[in-house]
Symmetry: C2
Subunit: 279 residues, 2 copies
């Protein structure tokens, strides 16, 4: 990033599936090399030997053109496709999948699905339905839109406007299939010095998001530039009031200022003891 | 899952970060063993040596109680924490992270951040802001709510009600930070035999979702049981009309019936050429 003479490395993420998880993990691994300049291409659905050969040739052509060896992350489930790809491609291969299956066969004393010729599993409809229901619920219960069915929520997020409630709610619903409602804390609540009535019987499900006043002001200014709503003074007051209210009501909360949506979500899951799940 | 006498394996996913990516990858790897009965626990934020020791002891206690060796997926960034954990814990360890960093140092001819004692990176604010903006845009442009700013969309999904447009839109916004609008195709459009006017100038951004009438009827019956809207006959007609319209208008589409949200999203990204991104 700093040395303009350094060549850009090509990173490929190749999979017979979506390659989305592999891309995220590859990104985490590559952040260990902050000075590396690289360009990342995800190549999903390489699910036939023909596509594997085409993809390998395409990557080899890039290598020839650029003159640097590509880094290739792979997550092939199908051994034949993986072999065809590996035999032909030139580059540093990081296998995020097959490498672990062999040792696991030994550890578990059982053959993997592909060792015994089993075909791909079809979609897990139960999980799909649970995610869709959670997303529906979360959209319906975004921003305190309705109190109806609020007791069905697994988690109810509270916090001032633009503290990160909506993206966090949606991530939790999408990733974990849990039903999240979120409820804004507004100046009327602070004046009254109490939580909205609808939340009182659901205290155990509440989790608060706070944020630094500077960052909140920045975010609000994106939306309503120069408004009183976005002013630092107003943000400072709202945050102080919200934190006082949460402290008084015994609501757990975290400060979202420097956290990613994933980190905020994982912290909430962990604090509320939702990390254990049956497979 | 089938043999009730088989012991349930304990799977742990342990990380100094959120362990979310590791959990997803672990799940993909474990689906290679469809006959294994297991119970999965994610343990995030093990980010001190003390926590590593506590976690190792906790896992060892479970092993003793259950009498089977746990499978432990790890993604420690910090070598000291990893070492403390690995020395103490008993189980089959699958290291999804550090194992690849050493060989990459050799390949790239550079030291990783932790080898040279660099501290953790702070949050990537630009990426965070892009995701938040994309989620905001997508929520505002869900279900054809407004035509204002429709031309700012990276993708516009079309399809009949409950064909999967909203979850797909939100996943694309959240995962890839792209702005997605979605627009329902309704009986009025089929009667007129044309796309809604607002979409005509944006044809290159359109992507269609279709679904089997049986599955659509099932999904709609969840929401409005026994309605004409949910009846198989009506679903068959709407799907046939929508597919005819998309065919006539030259809109690419996919059938979402057996696909996960990730697969639908990855297919759209791939079809629209959005897989290349700079890091």
């Amino acid at each position: 990033m700093t040395d303009s003479t350094a060549k850009t490395r090509q990173i490929f993420i190749v999979s017979d599936g979506t390659a989305i998880t592999a891309e995220t993990l590859a990104h985490s691994i590559m952040t260990q090399f902050p000075d590396l300049r690289y360009h990342q291409t995800r190549i999903p659905f390489v699910n036939t030997v023909e596509k594997a050969i085409d993809t390998a040739r395409r990557i080899n052509a890039v290598e020839k053109e650029e003159g640097t060896r590509p880094i290739i992350f792979t997550t092939f489930v199908e051994p034949d496709i993986m072999r065809s790809f590996n035999e032909l491609v030139s580059g540093h291969i990081i296998d995020l999948f097959r490498k672990f299956v062999g040792p696991l066969e030994t550890e578990l004393g059982m053959k993997s699905a592909h060792s015994i010729g089993q075909t791909h599993k079809i979609r897990d409809d139960e999980k799909y339905n649970r995610r869709i229901a959670a997303i529906d619920y979360t959209l319906t219960h975004d921003d305190g839109q309705t109190n109806r069915g609020l007791d069905e929520a697994d988690v109810i997020l509270v916090g001032v406007s633009r503290s990160g409630k909506t993206p966090t709610s949606l991530f939790l619903a999408m990733q974990f299939g849990i039903k999240v409602a979120n409820y804004p804390l507004i100046p009327e609540d602070f004046d009254r010095g109490a939580l909205p009535d609808a939340l009182l019987p659901l205290r155990s499900k509440l989790f608060g998001l706070s944020i630094s006043p500077e960052r909140l002001s920045e975010i609000r200014n994106e939306r309503r530039p120069g408004s009183r709503y976005a002013s630092l003074a107003n943000c400072e007051k709202e945050i102080a009031d919200a934190e006082n209210l949460m402290r008084r009501e015994g609501i757990r909360w975290l400060n979202s200022t420097t956290k990613s949506i994933e980190e905020i979500s994982a912290t909430i899951m962990s604090e509320l003891g939702l990390d254990k799940r049956k497979a």
